[in-house]
Amino acid sequence: MSTIELISVSKRFGDVTAVEATDLKIEQGEFVTLLGPSGSGKSTILSMIAGLTAPSSGHIKIGGRDVTHVRPAQRNLGLVFQSYALFPHMSVFDNIAFPLDIRGLRKADIAQRVGKALEQVRLTGLQARRPSQLSGGQQQRVALARALVFEPDILLLDEPMGALDKNLREEVQLELRQLQRELGVTTVLVTHDQEEALSLSTRLVVLDHGRVQQVDTPAGAYRRPSNRFVAGFIGTANLFDGQLLPGAGLRLAGGDVVPCGADSGLAGAVCLVVRPEHLQVLDATAPSGLDARVVEVVYFGQSARIHLQTTSGVAVVALADGLRAFPVPGQAVRLDWAAEHTWVMAA
């Protein structure tokens, strides 16, 4: 159980900067997700925390201890690899017992703790199997049990759901979250899946091109993205560029004035974020709103996604209640939204 601290940690591979100088403090018991597309540096950061990659500069502290030059074996951390990296020549029991065995625990203690770990990941009865005889979901749980059985200070997860199908992934996410809360172990997850990041973490670290874009709670990052990248990467965002008017409202390039929150503290050229669920698609006869034309309607049952284009050519997406009647492609409509449901970023 520990804190993790990155103090201006960077990593260069030759001329390529994989991670720019990064500062990050993760508190005891937190579940922090490093979220970003491939090449954003998220896996490199995890690898540096684990000690498998040496930083080019900066310091890493775990539980207040500077571990920058400490071998992975001495960092007392549990790491679940994307490939699970289970030892193919060992049974499930021996895989989970491995970290205890090399720490010199007695046979009886090992058996008891492995039994408890198997129970926690609901694999009791499978201890004699080889990893190759398990399903992907079971292998993932063995990897998790192996990473937790020696009560590490921190748990690191490198895209652990990447190889699972969608239904199984949701089930495993739920279990993982419960287990993490139960054990209270400080956890760092790496993923490119924003849904996974939103549903699991207490805090998100959004990365792009080796640079931290935003550190916030999932709701904070969704409601108050710090820039275009974060707005587009977490959920779907409609972005409108324009000039902030004194009072309230935003003047778009085409001259239209749309509703806009007034508490941003910004002025001049800004970018407005409106989430699809806050966009209202009205009849063309509505007294106010932005003129647009329906391009496509995609029906999902509980909801429908309506793709539109404004008269000035901006592509927009709206999420409509599935029970209502939808407009048809080609139809002229007006778009409106409430000022309090918007977010203003620097352009």
């Binding site: 074996a73 549990g78 020549h89 192996r146």
Partner: protein
């Protein structure tokens, strides 16, 4: 019944040629070992197993094959492990150095050992110049010489498949072991080595089988003083000649080799499953 695919008919002539050219003579040899003046008999086998001279040759052949296999393991494993840790470019260079001897005639390589290990050879002269020995040490015309020469010829048969198997061991497994708290020593002995054992054992069995039937190197470096099965067969076929006994000994050798080959197949299959 399974349907025979049309392409199978294309290889039929080849199969026929192989059966007539290779398998028929082999069967004839097997047959001969069971045939005596008065029809079917086991008398040739009794002769093989009753005469201590033949058993001694068989025993010494097995001993030499065993020592050769063990030495190949002791030399080949570190060599393959070292090759694995080189950068891809140096791996190519290293592999080339291992493979190049394959392209040089066994006879040439074997005679080269006489130059190196003979009484006036490089090794003996160096040792004497250093003052470590007073008179030449006899490396040649004994089991030691045969083993040195055989190891040299057969080492690639162990190193190449072992190296290939080592390359297939997932680096992530070693990293995982490390993060779980294992020292480099533990990572090697608990993870890497067990995963390489099937390939190592398969290579050792292969070297063992090949040594059992080795002829040129024992003949040249043994100088006729290290009788191995192949050399004894040469004697029975070319000098005596005693074809019945030769075929009985060949049959014994074939049975042992086949049994070992089954072991080899089991090991390589275990490796594929791992």
């Amino acid at each position: 019944m399974k349907r025979v695919s049309p392409s199978a008919w294309l290889v039929l002539p080849l199969l026929l040629a192989m059966a007539v050219g290779f398998n028929l003579p082999l069967l004839a040899m097997l047959g001969q070992s069971f045939v005596g003046a008065a029809g079917l008999t086991l008398v040739h086998f009794r002769e093989v197993f009753e005469a201590s001279a033949y058993l001694k040759v068989l025993a010494s052949t097995f001993r030499i094959a065993l020592v050769t296999a063990v030495v190949c393991v002791l030399v080949g494993y570190p060599l393959a492990y070292w090759l694995r840790r080189l950068s891809p470019r140096w791996q190519m260079v290293g592999l080339a150095l291992v493979v190049i001897p394959f392209w040089i005639s066994i006879l040439v390589r074997t005679y080269a050992w006489i130059v190196v290990l003979g009484n006036a050879g490089i090794v003996n002269r160096s040792l004497m110049a250093l003052g470590w020995i007073d008179e030449p040490f006899s490396f040649l015309y004994n089991e030691l010489g045969v083993i040195i020469g055989t190891v040299n010829v057969l080492l690639p048969f162990l190193v190449l498949p072992l190296f290939a198997a080592m390359l297939k061991i997932d680096e992530q497994l070693l990293r995982a072991a490390e993060t779980l708290g294992a020292s480099p020593w533990t990572v090697f002995w608990r993870v890497f080595f067990p995963l390489s054992v099937p390939a190592l054992a398969a290579g050792a069995v292969l070297v063992f089988i090949l040594t059992l039937g080795f002829f040129i190197t024992p003949a040249v470096l043994g100088g006729g003083r290290v009788p191995m099965v192949a050399n004894m067969l040469d004697l029975f076929v070319n000098q005596m000649p005693n074809w019945d006994l030769a075929s009985a000994i060949s049959t014994v050798l074939l049975v042992v080799t086949l049994a070992l080959f089954v072991v080899y197949l089991r090991l390589t299959r275990a490796q594929e499953q791992a």
